[in-house]
């Protein structure tokens, strides 16, 4: 079934919370995440003809966000150390909704743990573990083989479990 532009706009608006969450997983900073989402939405609409009707709009937009993020990384020549600093900053900034102290700490801990992962593993975690996509859909969105995705997920899971659960055990 063909989707009119108005329908696509409504679908994009419905996708915004998931896009923000994905972008935050990538960038580690709420303000950077919203900038990335904004760029993603603009890019998607201005290149809407490139979206193949009948395929998943969410996968296509996650792919755009991922590619824009990689472009930004390359452009700014960010080092992994700089990215890690960016993630540490999430503890101070946080989303408005994360006002309660407990929620804010859990949020910051998780964001910091995600920031310790290589960006390719973060993308896999964001789509499968956080967004709940199937391996097949996530692999398509990230344009990687399923084997690569499962390998990244396995490595990321172990690193995250050590960091997130280990920190809780210590506290």
């Amino acid at each position: 079934m063909d989707a009119s532009t108005d329908t696509v706009r409504r679908q994009i608006i419905a996708l915004l919370p998931r896009l923000r969450r994905f972008a935050l997983t990538l960038t580690g900073q709420p303000s950077d995440a919203d900038d990335l989402v904004q760029d993603t939405v603009e890019r998607a609409l201005r290149h809407l003809h490139q979206w193949e009707q009948g395929t998943r709009l969410d996968s296509w937009m996650f792919r755009i966000a991922q590619n824009l993020f990689i472009d930004q990384l390359r452009a700014k020549k960010r080092s992994s150390a700089v990215i890690a600093n960016s993630f540490d900053g999430a503890e101070r900034v946080g989303f408005d909704g994360a006002a309660r102290a407990e929620s804010r700490i859990a949020f910051a801990d998780t964001i910091a743990a995600l920031g310790s992962l290589p960006s390719d593993q973060r993308s896999a975690v964001a789509l499968v573990l956080i967004d709940g996509m199937s391996y097949r859909d996530a692999a398509q969105a990230l344009e990687i083989p399923i084997g690569t995705l499962t390998s990244r997920l396995a490595r990321a899971r172990e690193a995250l479990a050590t960091r997130v659960l280990g920190r809780k055990a210590e506290s």
């Binding site: 201005r46 859990a106 199937s134 995250l160």
Partner: protein, 245 residues
């Protein structure tokens, strides 16, 4: 036999075939170490979801919604939309004979990587099924004379009568890198778009419209459609006052 960590992850994520799921489940059940691994991974998932739960429930910034609502779509997507609507019109018995068999002038849509201006100024007509000028572009074609400066980013170029007797006008929207040039002809109370070009300008040669260099495709469209000479200022004013009939 121990499962690989990838198999364990796929088991936790429910990505294995039923037989494999049962096989891994049996292995996990028989191993304290594997049980602990699965338990930790399930706790990790709970942590990840809980961490983002607040954010998922908070309102999305207005700016993002405006971007989704207001960003113009690509011209090719708009044409795809229009074709879909036209197809729906044609399949309807009411409109089957209402859609013109051919475009009013040359059905040129060139440089289809079009970006900003075009999509907000043109769109499909609900009555004729043709792509027509809308909003500021329609106002400019109705009201603006070639001698007047650009208004709302739209400049009018040449006015002439085509071989069907309709009045046509060239126009330019934008003025910077994303400038769109086009040709519209008046039919059925609408300005139907016959040619549209977006992209880097080409050097002027045959025609020089309103002091700007007009893309070759528009010049060609004008050449093939024009009947007689372009209107001078007096004829243009008279056509304006007469409602472009």
């Amino acid at each position: 036999m121990s499962p690989t960590r990838e198999e364990l992850c796929a088991y936790i994520d429910g990505e294995l075939e039923p037989a494999q799921m049962a096989s891994i489940a049996a292995l996990v059940e028989s191993s304290t170490e594997l049980k602990q691994y699965v338990y930790n991974q399930e706790r990790l998932l709970e942590n990840l979801h809980a961490a983002f739960a607040t954010m998922m429930n908070e309102p999305v910034p207005d700016q993002l919604i405006r971007t989704a609502t207001d960003t113009p779509v690509s011209f090719r997507a708009m044409v795809r939309d229009w074709r879909t609507q036209r197809s729906a019109l044609r399949s309807s018995s009411v409109f089957r004979f209402a859609v013109p068999a051919a475009a009013l002038v040359v059905g040129l849509f060139v440089g289809v990587g079009i970006e900003r201006p075009a999509s907000s100024y043109i769109g499909p007509s609900p009555t004729s099924g043709q792509i027509v000028a809308q909003a500021a572009l329609a106002s400019a074609l109705n009201e603006q004379l070639a001698s007047q400066p650009a208004q709302s980013g739209t400049r009018i170029g040449m006015t002439f009568r085509n071989k069907s007797g309709d009045i046509c006008r060239t126009f330019e929207v934008g003025g910077d890198a994303s400038t769109t040039d086009g040709l519209a002809c008046r039919r059925g109370g609408e300005w139907q778009i016959g040619a549209l070009v977006n992209g880097p300008r080409q050097a002027a040669s045959t025609y020089e419209l309103a002091g700007s260099s007009t893309p070759a495709a528009i010049r060609d469209a004008v050449s093939s459609e024009m009947n007689g000479l372009p209107f001078d200022a007096t004829a243009e004013r008279k056509a304006h006052d007469g409602g472009w009939k």
